[in-house]
């Protein structure tokens, strides 16, 4: 629980930070101009801890920054060679476990996975490609759902609703069958704005708004202009 009446101090990579007691560490770091990478966390949504990229070392133990609450005197390591290598490895695994063909993907330039690949200098695939065949569902009027690109971050599961009902849900629990399923009837009722919201909440190109391709030229997209996280770090000058 965030205590908005209690400011505490803690430390990230030797920098003294202040935050509300109980604030998610990832959010607190952001407020202090420190970038901790994440693919599943969205400020305001309940933390999921599913992507593991926000792994940091808290008082000697590795923990996910999105699910860890800050407390007074906490000592956090974030930008270390070991943690960055771990993050890079996770990014590489996510890339090979999906069909992420950046050259023709509408999300290219706005894709957080791609942006993290660049930030952590993913140069060559170290792991074998899986080329999954999880299917594509293009039945809704406005949504194109490509499960082969899904990284199971569950952002859509947690956020996209229609009339109070969840449009996306985790389905087929149990190893290789696990996937994010879409309620086609509900998805078909989404408005233009809601469909755009679904596309925007997806960190990769698994949820696309139909009939919208490359309106913004490559080179003029969000991460074409500045690396992911640089807006947060700019607060520290």
């Amino acid at each position: 629980m965030v205590k908005k009446d209690e400011k505490i101090s803690f430390e990230i990579d030797g920098q003294t930070c202040s935050a509300w007691a109980g604030q998610p560490l990832l959010d607190a770091a952001k407020d202090n101009g420190i970038f901790i990478p994440s693919l599943c966390h969205v400020q305001g949504l309940k933390p999921a801890g599913s992507c593991r990229i926000c792994n940091v070392n808290v008082n000697g133990r590795n923990m996910t920054a999105c699910t860890t609450r800050v407390s007074a005197g906490m000592v956090v390591e974030n930008h270390t060679p070991e943690l960055n290598e771990l993050r890079k490895t996770i990014i590489e695994v996510l890339f090979v476990s999906g069909n992420h063909f950046c050259p023709s993907c509408e999300k290219s330039g706005n894709c957080e996975l791609q942006a993290l690949g660049y930030r952590y200098q993913m140069m060559v695939p170290r792991f074998p490609y899986e080329f999954p065949v999880k299917g594509v569902d293009a039945r809704p009027d406005l949504i194109y759902h490509d499960r082969n690109r899904c990284i199971m971050c569950k952002r859509c599961v947690r956020s996209i609703t229609k009339d109070g009902k969840h449009v996306f849900a985790l389905n087929g629990r149990g190893g290789e069958h696990l996937h994010v399923a879409m309620d086609v009837d509900l998805a078909s009722q989404l408005t233009e704005a809601e469909a755009q919201e679904a596309m925007d909440i997806c960190p990769v190109g698994a949820i696309l708004k139909k009939e919208q391709g490359f309106l913004v030229p490559i080179g003029e997209r969000k991460y074409d202009k500045a690396p992911i996280g640089s807006d947060i770090e700019a607060q520290n000058g």
Binding site: F101, P103, S104, C105, E106, V136, A138, R139, Y144, L208, K210, E211, Q212, G213, F214, L215, V216, P217, I218, G219, E220
Partner: protein
């Protein structure tokens, strides 16, 4: 005892190619084949993808002329999204695409002539491969080499300004374009310093044309007789018969210039053109249905375009066109090496078109995209640098591509290239006791004239990257040479 000569790989292809030449007991050529031996599969793996991805996805077919695939796919999707063909776009949409396309023609033709062809002309096709390459050109003909580099760079910059990137851009989208030309780019193209502006490009285009014509005067017999044979020719032309490399109607002429097809809407291309599959090549053999498989094949590309069009709608290129047509008394030109001549006239034409477009205010402002009522099938055809390029897509009600058929320029020229290889093999190798490097280069010179995506790496590397092997009738290796 018969022998088989294999030239493999024929490099710088989209995939791999090789030439086999079969000799009989007297070392005379029995028959020859140009094989394309790698399967690409784009037509299959775009199936299921959303249609708006096609222009960006399929252009990955090629790193040399991706703009052609990008625009052909976009033109097909214009039809699907209800924007119609050609005139259905906004003036900005159509003119930006035209500028992109003519920039592509300009850079591709320049690359081909200066980097790949000029070594053959400057040093001779039987010269030592150590000097018969682009480095040799740079060392001995510095001005020409610099012009080649600068002309290609200019075309690439035009592509960047219109498509967003020099290679694999994203400018054309279904129904139009996603950007205007910036004032900064326009100024640079029109008035750039250090000879990097459109007026200089036109002057250099004229210069290289004069260079070729001078060469032709001194080597007319060789150029006119090298791999010359009659054929049909096909391209799109503007409705009034003018050369138009971006949009038009299908026209085909026979070897005498009689029209086989005229004013044909390319949406119906499959009523007029069919593709034959032969077991020894992954590249199909297109032919005109009305004539049939054996005689319905045709040439595409610069030579064909100058045979099908009635005139060129820019003054400098038109004057050159008239001089060129006079060589064959207005009849179709069937000389294989005149592809180079025709290509340089098109280079000049492209520069003139770019100049006119750069001065057009529609590129700087105006609506970018149009839409209409969606349909499930669209065909896009464009004159790529190497010839007529067909893209045909069909989609389902969920916006997924269900069918893609691509007939690329090189495919159209498949049978003509085979004919050319055969001609050269006969005239250079018949009865020869030894197969030499110049003989193999002569085969590649014939292929190279078409500027296929089969152009050889010979000149770039300074060494023929070919392997020649002699086999007896039982396929036993008799001799092998890597030159």
């Amino acid at each position: 005892m018969t022998k088989k000569i294999t030239i493999e790989p024929v490099t710088r292809v989209e995939g791999h190619g090789k030439v086999t030449i079969h000799l009989d007991d007297q070392n005379n050529v029995d028959y020859s084949r140009l094989h394309i031996v790698e399967f690409r599969g784009f037509e299959r793996f775009v199936q299921g993808r959303p249609y708006w991805e096609a222009p960006v996805l399929v252009q990955r077919l090629c790193g040399i002329c991706p703009v052609s695939h990008h625009l052909a796919a976009a033109k097909a999707l214009d039809v699907i999204v209800g924007s119609g063909t050609g005139e259905g776009l906004t003036p900005t949409g159509e003119k930006m695409r035209r500028l992109m396309h003519y920039g592509q023609i300009f850079q591709s033709h320049s690359l081909h002539f200066f980097h790949l062809v000029s070594p053959d002309l400057l040093f001779g096709i039987d010269a030592d491969p150590v000097i018969r390459n682009v480095i040799g050109v740079a060392l001995e003909h510095k001005d020409l080499a610099v012009q080649g580099v600068m002309m290609r760079k200019f075309g690439q910059e035009i592509i960047r300004a219109t498509a967003g990137k020099k290679i694999h851009g994203t400018g054309a989208i279904p129904g139009g374009i996603n950007k205007h030309l910036s004032a900064q780019d326009k100024e640079a193209f029109l008035n750039g310093p250090d000879n990097f502006n459109i007026d200089q490009m036109i002057a250099w285009s004229q210069g290289v044309l004069e260079f070729f014509k001078d060469y032709y005067t001194r080597h007319q017999s060789f150029i006119d007789n090298f791999a010359t044979f009659p054929s049909n020719h096909l391209s799109i032309v503007r409705k009034d018969g003018a050369m138009d490399l971006y949009h038009g109607v299908l026209r085909a002429v026979d070897d005498e210039g009689n029209k086989i097809l005229d004013d044909v809407d390319y949406q119906d291309y499959d009523q007029y053109i069919e593709e034959e599959v032969r077991s020894w090549s992954y590249m199909k053999f297109p032919y005109l249905k009305s004539i049939g498989k054996s005689d319905g094949w045709y040439r595409v590309g610069p030579l064909a375009r100058l045979n099908t069009c009635d005139f060129i709608p820019t003054p400098l290129a038109q004057a050159e066109f008239e001089e060129y047509k006079a060589l064959t008394h207005g009849k179709p030109n069937h000389h294989c090496l005149h592809y180079h001549y025709a290509r340089l006239i098109e280079t000049l034409h492209s520069a003139e078109v770019m100049r006119d477009l750069l001065n057009d205010p529609d590129l700087m402002a105006g609506e970018l995209v149009t839409t209409g009522t969606k349909i499930n099938k669209g065909v896009g055809v464009i004159e790529a640098p190497r010839g007529t390029l067909f893209h045909h897509y069909e989609i389902n009600e969920d916006d997924q591509i269900t069918l893609a058929n691509l007939i690329v320029s090189t495919t159209n020229n498949n049978e003509p290239m085979n004919q050319s290889v055969n001609q050269v093999a006969h005239s250079w190798m018949d009865g020869q006791p030894e197969i030499t490097e110049p003989m193999m280069n002569a085969v590649e010179v014939a292929i190279r004239a078409y500027d296929p995506c089969l152009s050889c790496a010979t000149h770039a590397l300074g060494q023929m990257p070919l392997e020649i092997s002699l086999f007896d009738a039982e396929n036993n290796l008799l001799d092998s040479k890597r030159t």
